[in-house]
């Protein structure tokens, strides 16, 4: 009691204005922090705590069943898991998957965007159709393609000879890639359309006046100006590809012969397949986090620079 009184009274006599300013600042800070509290609690519970817990799990050998002791194994688990063939296989499949989906998706999106970038009557209808896949959920897209791919009743059966896409180890990943490309086409189309619309007409017209043909205009004017958008789409698309889960869970569950077991599915399986292994899953999650982090940093670095391209 006395201590607080002393503390608040003595400086008040020495320097009044500074003290009130500081006090006001403190009060404002207090208000600010108290306004932050609800958000902090939510973030704390759903993001910070799981994030930290994930790192703790990664350094522990977690028993498959509750009630058994945990063992701190430090970084050993990282070596074991990240050096295993399972991880390398999964990583390779994920990279393959990104290579299959990202460039194709962007190329198709760009193609459609150029087609729709004409001043024609009723073009809005086509724009709506081209972007419509944005509104489909992963589950819906997967179920649609599941039916199409079905070797007995699927529509693709009439285009013979079709391999049994989802059951064939050599085709399953391609089948998943087709679903993903189709589903992401809408987003890719919207991104590319926006990029095309951002290109000032006078630049293209100037090139036209200079005698450049359509191909030359596209190659030398449109494409370079579109490159920031393409770059953005590549990075974001790659991050999406690394986080693909829904279509794999619905269509193949990582099979056949583990040929569609991408990283996210490997994490899920480490937790799901008895005996569950939360420690291993945590290490895999951190690996995925690191990859996404690098991609994001890469994007920020280069994209920031590219944005000023025109000036």
């Amino acid at each position: 009691m006395t201590a607080t009184l002393d503390a608040s009274e003595r400086p008040a006599e020495i320097d009044k204005p500074v003290n009130t300013r500081r006090r006001r600042k403190l009060r404002e800070a207090g208000l600010g922090y108290s306004l932050l509290v609800p958000a902090l609690i939510i973030f704390g519970i759903f993001i910070f705590y799981p994030f930290i817990k994930n790192f703790i799990l990664a350094t522990h050998q977690v028993p498959p069943f509750p009630g058994l002791p945990e063992k701190n194994v430090g970084l050993d688990q990282f070596g074991d898991v990240l050096g295993s063939r399972d991880f390398l296989d999964s990583l390779w499949i994920t990279v393959l998957f990104a290579l299959m989906t990202v460039p194709t998706g962007i190329a198709l999106g760009l193609g459609l965007a150029i087609l729709a970038h004409q001043k024609l009557k009723g073009i809005a209808i086509f724009r709506t159709i081209f972007s419509s896949t944005v509104a489909t959920s992963v589950a819906v897209a997967s179920v649609m393609f599941y039916t199409l791919f079905n070797p007995n009743i699927g529509l693709l059966k009439s285009i013979s000879p079709t391999p049994p896409f989802l059951e064939n180890p050599g085709w399953a990943l391609i089948a998943i890639a087709i679903v993903t490309i189709w589903q992401n086409l809408g987003l890719s189309f919207i991104l590319m359309s926006a990029g095309l619309q951002a290109i000032p007409d006078e630049l293209v017209e100037a090139a036209q006046v200079d005698g450049a043909g359509p191909w030359s205009r596209f190659r030398n004017v449109t494409l370079p100006l579109l490159s920031p958008t393409v770059f953005f789409a590549v990075v974001v698309g790659t991050i999406f590809a690394f986080q693909t889960f829904g279509q794999i869970d619905i269509l193949t569950e990582g099979g056949p012969l583990g040929k569609t077991k991408v990283l996210t599915y490997a994490i899920y399986e480490a937790l799901r397949q008895p005996p569950p292994n939360p420690g291993k899953a945590a290490v895999l999650a951190i690996a995925l986090f690191a990859i996404t982090l690098v991609l994001t940093m890469f994007q920020m670095r280069f994209l920031e620079r590219r944005v000023h391209y025109q000036r």
Partner: protein, 464 residues
């Protein structure tokens, strides 16, 4: 005499293992290996308020669920002490996953149906009231059960779950293709070499594109080795003490891998992934004339292939061929575990229900409605089973096959903690063998090394 000496050896090795582990061993390891049975308090049921309600988690599909629902309703109305509620988790994986998750949250059933491969994990959860405890408390007679089945679920001398739905693999072949190729449709192959010869004859005659439809299921290796009389893992197939390494890289293993590679390389076999039934459709589509699959789905198999869609097929069912040796096929299917997290009245009630499910009449009804094997002696003499076997002799094949097998460590079946992990290792072995041309011996050796690390990792995680 021999068994007592074997047991003595087991006790001594057990003691040595325990001794060396004594320092690092945690309570978990010791408890899992404890010989003393917990108490099965049968009297708790008498004292409890009736009816005692218990929850039973199953994992059955349409036809089998209907049969189990019917049987359980029959139990509920036949007495007023116990009321069973069935909650179907639909797949074995889900049932085990939910059970393991329930250990943390407390949301547990009183009885749960777990696949054969989950045995070691269920023991390690330390949440099981061994059926042996109730067998002892109730003076229950297990001698009328098929011994092989009881042995399969007995580890270190203790019967953990009560067996219920039992199946095993059978050989399926197209009799019409055999006939057309000039083979005797009533003398199907009995060994791996004979499968190859039959396949060659059928392909040469141009009846089917290839002879044998090979599902790339690690389960084949387990079954073939048991047939050869070779244990799959060490320490008495994991039954004397916890298995620490795989033992499938033996001569018989190499023989099986060589056969598989040979069949595929010479286009006598087509392969398919383990998670579908393409091996069966291959027979329908004349891509193959023979395959091996579980007797549990015999009903569906016969319905599809004999349903008129494939006039080119007449399915024959025979015992599974395999490498020569003193063995037999393994017990497959699932078994029922009582949770020790339930009250003693609920545990006693659960035991009453399990006893009911193991009566001859119920077993006969269950087997006839599903295709599973009747596991108690009296069941086979019932009219319903006799009629079934006369009408559809196929259903008898799996039963006879199980009874005719030798009784030894190998046919008792492996007990492995991370069973699925070991299967994944073997599957990778299959793949490198069949797609990358790895030598059988090398593929097997790599699979073993991989499996060993998985077995040991699991053991270390449960503190054993």
């Amino acid at each position: 005499m021999r068994t007592s000496r074997k047991r003595l050896v087991a006790v001594i090795t057990g003691a040595i293992v325990l001794g060396t582990l004594a320092v690092p061993a945690t309570a978990a390891g010791a408890a899992a290996r404890r010989a003393k049975l917990p108490k099965c308090a049968l009297s708790a049921l008498d004292k409890a308020d009736k009816p005692v309600e218990i929850e039973f988690w199953t994992a059955t599909n349409a036809a089998n669920s209907d049969a189990l629902d019917r049987i359980t309703a029959q139990f509920n109305s036949s007495q007023s002490d116990v009321a069973v509620t069935i909650i179907n988790q639909t797949t074995y994986d889900d049932a085990l996953n939910k059970y393991i998750a329930g250990l943390g949250t407390g949301d547990l059933p009183d009885v749960v149906m777990i696949e054969d491969t989950g045995l070691q994990q269920m023991i390690d959860t330390q949440s099981i009231l061994p059926a042996a405890a109730c067998v002892k408390a109730d003076d229950y007679d297990l001698s009328s059960h098929i011994e092989r089945v009881v042995n399969y679920y007995t580890v270190d001398g203790t019967l953990y779950p009560m067996p219920f739905n039992v199946s095993n693999p059978v050989f399926l072949y197209n009799k019409l293709a055999f006939e057309e190729a000039g083979l005797d449709p009533d003398a199907p192959p009995e060994t791996l070499d004979e499968i190859k010869e039959a396949a060659q004859t059928i392909v040469d005659a141009g009846i089917t594109n290839s002879g044998f439809s090979l599902k790339l299921d690690p389960w084949y290796l387990e079954q073939f080795l048991a047939k050869a009389g070779e244990p799959y893992v060490n320490n008495g197939n994991g039954r004397d003490s916890r298995a620490t390494e795989a033992e499938f890289d033996v001569k018989a293993g190499v023989e099986i891998f060589t056969w598989m590679q040979d069949m595929v390389d010479s286009d006598l076999a087509v392969t398919n992934a383990p998670d579908n039934f393409d091996n069966l459709f291959a027979i329908g589509e004349d891509n193959a004339a023979m395959t091996i699959d579980t007797s549990a789905s015999l009903g569906s198999i016969l319905a599809v292939l004999g349903g008129g869609q494939y006039p080119n097929v007449e399915i024959g069912v025979a015992p599974m061929p395999g490498p020569e040796g003193k063995g037999g096929v393994l017990v497959g299917g699932a078994a029922l575990y009582i949770s020790n997290k339930s009250s003693s009245a609920e545990q006693a009630a659960a035991w009453e229900y399990l006893k009911f499910l193991n009566t001859p009449d119920v077993q006969a009804d269950w087997a006839a409605s599903t295709g599973y094997i009747p596991i108690v002696e009296g069941a086979t003499e019932t009219q319903i089973i006799q009629d079934l076997w006369t009408e559809l002799p196929f259903f008898k094949v799996a039963y006879d096959q199980l009874l005719s097998g030798a009784e030894n460590e190998a046919t008792a079946g492996p007990v492995i903690g991370d069973y699925q992990g070991v299967r994944d290792s073997v599957l990778e072995g299959f793949e490198s063998l069949l797609t990358q041309g790895t030598k059988p011996k090398t593929a097997l050796k790599n699979a073993k090394a991989d499996a060993d690390s998985k077995i040991q990792e699991y053991n270390s995680r449960v503190g054993a």
